[in-house]
């Protein structure tokens, strides 16, 4: 098992190097950090001196390795605007994003797994038909539009829910206040991912139901319940694990829009403002972080997959 994980990590290394390369390339394409210095009161000599100081006169390969060394020390650079360390900024924003993503992921799975299984077991029933149709409609609604509609209804018209931030400023809201702030962003995130998950789980379970071993299980006379909920579900774990792995990059991306619309103080909001302000070190830091998160998520998925699937040997 340890060996398997080790092997997977080793395989991820070239991809990781590729990611840093792409990351670095995009950053240098975006322009020299010194462009920001330029102005009527800065002399060319000062810029050149600064360039030598920053190693910008070196070939880009050298610069890349210098940058990489900094990176390995955990130095993601500094924000051009706030001059704050990117790592510190990420550290500040990651909590709210994880809270939002984690809750959405949990709720999405809590809905998608039972509905997907129900839909498959009762294929062609009215319930199945409704689930599939609604899932198509659900995944066709743009998240930001849904967010607007929700705000229009629940904040503007009904005034039930707050439409921005995590907590009510100046109020000692506690957990309830937080939950009230989370309802709409979570709803939007769940809505945008639950449909495709239902369809994925449904088709995975449908395939399992058609397997010969399900017929064997029925032939044993152990009862319909055990057939579906023991043999069916245990085999469905494989696709379900895959689904969880697939969610992470999607949610990471989806959070950008949702956080923007609801002014949720997380990574997404930070990314968006960095993009609007062309704050490249911050953008790159986040891109790198999220790529690593995706890689780690893939790794965890693969390991989990190997755990639930005895046909994969770890050696």
């Amino acid at each position: 098992m340890t060996k398997y994980i080790l092997k997977r990590i080793l395989i991820a290394i070239p991809v990781l190097i590729g990611i840093t390369l792409v990351d670095y390339l995009i950053m240098s394409m975006a322009g020299s950090p010194l462009d920001m210095m330029r102005g009527p009161r800065v002399s060319q000599a000062a810029i050149d001196a600064r360039a030598i100081q920053l190693g910008l006169d070196q070939p880009w390969v050298v610069q890349y390795f210098v940058w990489l060394r900094q990176l390995l020390r955990g130095n993601l650079g500094y924000s051009i605007r706030g001059h704050e360390a990117v790592l510190a900024m990420i550290g500040r924003s990651i909590g709210p994003t994880l809270l939002l993503m984690g809750t959405s992921l949990a709720i999405t799975l809590l809905i998608a797994i039972p509905v997907g299984i129900y839909s498959a077991v009762h294929q062609y029933s009215i319930g199945d038909y409704a689930a599939v149709t609604l899932s198509f409609v659900g995944s066709s609604i743009p998240g930001f539009f849904l967010a607007l509609v929700l705000i229009y209804i629940f904040t503007v018209r009904l005034g039930w829910l707050p439409s921005s931030d995590m907590v009510t400023r100046g109020a000692e809201g506690g957990a309830l206040d937080l939950i009230r702030h989370m309802v709409m962003p979570v709803t939007v995130l769940v809505f945008s991912s639950v449909g495709s998950n239902i369809r994925y789980i449904r088709s995975a379970v449908l395939e399992i139901l058609q397997q010969d071993y399900m017929r064997t299980a029925r032939a044993k006379g152990i009862g319909r319940f055990l057939v579906i909920y023991k043999h069916g579900l245990r085999n469905a774990l494989l696709p379900i694990v895959t689904v969880i792995g697939m969610q992470i990059p999607t949610l990471f991306g989806g959070a950008v829009i949702v956080e923007q619309v609801f002014a949720w103080p997380g990574l997404g909001l930070m990314t968006m403002s960095a993009i609007l302000q062309r704050d490249y070190p911050v953008i790159m830091g986040i891109a790198l972080l999220s790529a690593v998160v995706v890689l780690v998520a893939n790794l965890i998925t693969d390991v989990l997959y190997a755990v639930v699937n005895p046909a994969i040997t770890y050696e």
Binding site: I26, F136, F144
Partner: protein
């Protein structure tokens, strides 16, 4: 000897099975109608999409069916042109994705070896970035606009397709009919383009419909965030961007509701067409009972 089944052209079979999917058929009709309408926008639209009419934030009226926006442009006209933009983005992105993905997938799967390793590592790298984030960053670097959006979306979508095609090619390469063609001494280009390619059309087509709907959604999201199509050019996404202002959101729903609904209609229709195509093209699906 009698044929084993009544003679029917492949396309006829697909069409017959497609029509079986009622929602898919209706969606196809809706989609075609919207396509025609958006193409005919210059004829139908009462105003130019960028024309300033002088009336700001006016509600729906006989002159302005859907009212006017903050810049006093006719919302209905912009809706038509916005649809045109969305479809343009959707189709072009799909075409780029398909061409790049199919080509790289074919090469990767058929030739294998180092080429395959390199292409697959690149797909890994591209797929490791959260999709929307990658698009946003790219849009920030290349200045936002219609064409950069099309190119960016086109070039971040292909890895999934390349993988799909590669997998198909690997399976087909081992099939008896391809081996038969090799033994018959047919050249590589014949095998690649005449034996293998036609047999990957079905999964590619299904994948392409999902790229189509996703790229329309992505364009909308990007434009909404101000990183996509820039005004005064109309797009369904940037029309919604105005709704960020609380007054528009609360008191002028005619400005933001129609483009939002239009996106949903478009994407729902494409998704149902994709579902119907899946049913119609997938030979493994038994023609079972479907209500």
């Amino acid at each position: 000897m009698p044929p084993a089944a009544p003679s029917e052209r492949y396309l006829a079979t697909v069409w017959r099975r497609f029509r079986h999917h009622r929602l898919g058929t209706i969606s196809l009709a809706v989609l075609l109608l919207l396509l025609v309408v958006s193409l005919l926008a210059p004829v139908i639209a009462p105003y130019s999409p960028a024309a300033i009419t002088g009336k700001f934030h006016s509600g729906p009226s006989p002159e302005h069916w859907l009212g006017t926006d903050a810049s006093s442009r006719d919302v209905f006209s912009r809706l038509l042109y916005g649809m045109q933009t969305s479809m343009l983005v959707g189709f072009l992105v799909t075409i780029i994705t398909t061409v790049v993905g199919v080509l790289l997938g074919l090469i990767s799967g058929y030739f294998g070896g180092l080429v395959d390793i390199i292409i697959m590592r690149i797909t890994d790298i591209v797929m490791s970035f959260p999709y929307l984030l990658l698009v946003l960053v790219a849009a920030a670097i290349f200045s936002p606009g219609l064409w950069s959006i099309i190119l960016i979306l086109g070039f971040v979508n292909w890895p999934g397709l390349a993988r799909l095609v590669r997998g198909n090619v690997l399976a087909l390469r081992e099939s008896s009919f391809v081996q038969g063609a090799i033994v018959a001494g047919l050249p590589r280009r014949h095998i690649l383009f005449s034996e293998i390619l036609p047999n990957t059309v079905a999964p590619v087509l299904i994948y392409a419909t999902s790229v189509l709907s996703l790229s329309i959604l992505d364009e909308a999201a990007l434009s909404y965030l101000g990183q996509g199509v820039q005004p005064p050019m109309a797009s369904l996404g940037n029309m919604l961007g105005g709704a960020e202002s609380l007054t528009i959101l609360t008191s002028r729903p005619w400005i933001w509701l129609p483009p939002g609904i239009m996106i949903i209609v478009l994407v729902v229709a494409i998704n149902f067409v994709g579902d119907a195509l899946r049913d119609a093209l997938d030979p493994s699906r038994t023609e079972g009972s479907r209500s």
